[in-house]
């Protein structure tokens, strides 16, 4: 069943779902009406607009059934690791083991948005002294306390060091509530100094050899802990196989991003692309299914590009987006304002870059961990953003601050300055809270002004 691509509401999706059923389009086990998730409390879904492809439906259902998947994994005797903050490295290790599932409790930061604050997680965080001056990831504390949003992992692993203070402080608070955490150190990435060997990292950054060796030793410590936890050896062979699978996900995403961000007509909306990119960090608790979901999404995009169909206006302003949004609806809003996403840096580019296969696996993973945009300087981040802006021919940049996130206070300014100096493109810095309803008009005005500026510049 193939139709003209468009963005539809949840209600329209239900009608369309019925048609799909009649047409006999197969759905995976977790498939079904999207609106059933509203019955579970995901109220925000009522206000979003979705791509109308079967591939997008599968993507959404896959995302919104993760909790069920985790509970099912536990029921089937699989071991669950909660990996925190590193956004992409530890899950590659964990999924290399048999019968181990890893996920990021950090993902709870979207619960206040998706459930429109009805889950009460932020109130629980408040009661623990972690108020609104912290990043929305504080919702994670509430999710642990209630135990209602994911099964409590048997092992928690958290990276600290050159990570954001908000998360580090919140994880420490979690630890003080009686949840043991295995901490590992990620140093602040720096340039090599005279006499030091420089090592190239995925994505183009570099670091001195000693930092790579240090991270490798930290990951070796995690390997031993994971082996003990899983009761099995995590050999280099297993790790290599795990890296190969992770790279399969990354290749699919790379192709998807390339096609979507460079097509004449946008073949997949920003919201679905954001969700798709997020799959890279822990495979939404099912690595094989992630690959299947992305393959279907890529096939849909290829078909649309081939047939010259897509969404949004052909003259939509091409926007590069920096940082993930706490309110998913803002992705829709950008498109309403006449923009389309052509390039993203959602703070986990290291989970999108291919992991080197020509190196011993722990060395490769150490290099990947050090390529995390957050562990280096803001200038490093900005230069990579500039490269990507050139690659995707983006015409403007939106830096989306995360409320309360202390790293955002200064880095946005630095990134903006560097991007403007290098590329002379307009930069807009906004702040996106978990629910933007009360500031939607102001956000709309600012995004419209940016789009207008882009269109004016085209006339030059």
């Amino acid at each position: 069943m193939r139709d003209i691509p468009e963005q539809i509401t949840l209600r329209q999706w239900d009608q369309r779902y019925k048609q799909m059923q009649k047409a006999g389009i197969a759905q995976p086990g977790y498939g079904g009406r999207l609106s059933r998730h509203v019955e579970d409390g995901d109220q925000r879904l009522l206000k979003l607009r979705y791509d109308n492809s079967a591939a997008a439906l599968r993507l959404w259902n896959f995302l919104l059934t993760e909790e069920d998947r985790l509970r099912e994994a536990r029921d089937r005797g699989k071991k669950i690791v909660g990996t925190m903050k590193d956004l992409g490295t530890v899950p590659v290790m964990a999924y290399s083991l048999d019968d181990v599932v890893a996920f990021y409790p950090d993902g709870a930061w979207w619960i206040p948005c998706v459930m429109e604050l009805n889950a009460g997680l932020l109130s629980i965080a408040d009661s623990l002294g972690i108020d609104e001056s912290f990043c929305p990831v504080r919702a994670m504390l509430g999710a642990f306390v209630t135990g209602a949003h994911f099964p409590i992992p048997e092992l928690l692993i958290c990276s600290v060091g050159a990570t954001c203070d908000d998360f580090s402080a919140i994880a420490q608070r979690l630890n003080s509530l009686g949840y043991p955490i295995l901490w590992w150190e990620i140093p602040h990435r720096r340039e090599r100094e005279p006499g030091e060997e420089s090592v190239k990292l995925p994505g183009g950054f570099s670091a001195p050899r000693c930092q790579v060796e240090f991270v490798k030793s930290e990951l070796e410590r995690l390997r031993r802990a994971l082996e003990e936890f899983a009761g099995q050896r995590l050999s280099d062979e297993k790790l290599s196989a795990g890296i190969k699978k992770a790279n399969q996900v990354r290749r699919l995403l790379a192709e998807l991003r390339r096609l979507v961000f460079t097509a004449r007509l946008c073949p997949m909306p920003a919201l679905e692309m954001l969700i798709a990119e997020m799959l890279a960090i822990h495979f939404c608790s099912d690595r094989e299914e992630t690959i299947a979901v992305l393959k279907e999404l890529l096939a849909e995009v290829k078909e649309r590009v081939k047939s010259g169909t897509g969404l949004l206006s052909a003259d939509a302003a091409k926007i590069f987006w920096v940082n993930p949004v706490a309110d998913l609806q803002v992705m829709n809003l950008l498109e309403d304002c006449g923009g389309r996403i052509c390039g993203t840096e959602y703070l986990f580019t290291h989970a999108l870059d291919a992991i080197p296969r020509d190196l011993p696996p722990m060395e490769a993973l150490a290099r990947m961990a050090l390529a995390d945009p957050m562990v280096g300087s803001s200038a490093d981040r900005a230069h990579r953003i500039c490269q990507e802006i050139r690659r995707f021919d983006a015409e403007a940049v939106v830096i989306s601050r995360i409320p309360g996130a202390s790293h955002c206070a200064l880095e946005g300014q630095i990134i903006g300055e560097i991007v403007q100096a290098e590329l002379d493109v307009p930069v807009l810095e906004i702040e996106v809270p978990s629910l933007t309803d009360s500031i939607a008009q102001a956000l709309r005005t600012r995004l419209e002004a940016l789009v207008e500026a882009v269109r004016e510049r085209r006339k030059r």
């Binding site: 402080a169 420490q172 608070r173 630095i414």
Partner: protein, 265 residues
């Protein structure tokens, strides 16, 4: 600067863009429970050494380093010994002067001979205080209290413990790292359980009756500890959050300290 918080890391990013002065960002590990973290700290000390040599400094011999360490150790011991004979402000100033100017800096802080033990014994915990913030000690004293435990970053908590003389002879750099990295307990450590162990010991030893938690509003690290501190201790905890040095803000925290002490006296 160091990597201990977002503000410093991103502040360094700004600094190197706006300023031509030689600058160095020292990577201070957050973890401490394994040897690799300590080794990283030692490596960073060596890197700092190379940076300073590059600016014209001289690399000390092990014996020379040991000598300086012992001199500093003796001064730290004398500062600690003088605590009961100095006002809380003088004590904080002596520590600050030592940190800024080395042993010569404390010449002006000669303790009196009388024990100063009036006022309700309080602890102050939190991040660093600047010299201009030291009037908080005066306000506490004027309100009937006395800071007997300065657990701010710039106070007694930020002074490393005594060196082990045998280990200084064997490997002074390792002992330096051990005393600083292993001996200064901070909220930014992961886990930071040792901070609470240290606090438990010091609060009891000094018969503290109340705690002032002084934090910057943008400091997540200390902000996140506030509620935990309240849950952890039986002592009353006063939260002083500061964002600047305006007169209105000063009046606010001064009033809060006065009210806090009224409840304790």
């Amino acid at each position: 600067m160091t990597t201990l918080c977002d503000q410093m890391r991103r502040g360094f990013d700004v600094l190197i863009r706006r300023c031509d002065a030689a600058s160095f960002l020292m990577n201070v590990p957050s973890t401490w429970q394994n040897l690799a973290a300590q080794n990283l700290y030692v490596d960073e000390l060596r890197r700092l050494g190379r940076f300073l040599v590059g600016l014209g400094g001289k690399s000390p011999t092990p014996a020379g380093l040991a000598e300086v360490m012992l001199e500093y150790d003796a001064v730290r011991a004398s500062i600690r010994a003088s605590r009961a004979y100095l006002s809380a402000r003088q004590y904080a100033e002596a520590i600050a002067a030592f940190g800024r100017d080395g042993p010569d800096g404390i010449a002006n802080y000669l303790p009196g001979s009388a024990l100063l033990n009036s006022g309700v014994p309080l602890a102050i915990v939190g991040g660093p205080l600047m010299w201009s913030d030291f009037d908080i000690y005066d306000v506490v004293e004027r309100s009937g209290g006395r800071i007997v435990l300065d657990a701010t970053e710039t106070g007694e908590r930020g002074m490393c413990g005594p060196f082990d003389r045998r280990r200084i002879r064997e490997d002074p750099l390792a002992e330096l790292a051990n005393a600083y990295f292993g001996g200064i307990q901070d909220a930014s450590r992961r886990p930071n359980s040792e901070l609470y162990r240290w606090l438990a010991h010091e609060l009891a030893a000094r018969a503290v009756r109340g705690i002032i938690c002084r934090r910057y509003v943008w400091c997540d690290t200390w902000h996140a500890e506030l509620q935990r501190l309240k849950e952890w201790t039986d002592l009353p905890v006063l939260d002083i959050d500061v964002a600047g040095n305006t007169e209105i803000e000063r009046q606010r925290w001064q009033n809060r300290i006065r009210a806090f002490l009224e409840t304790l006296t």
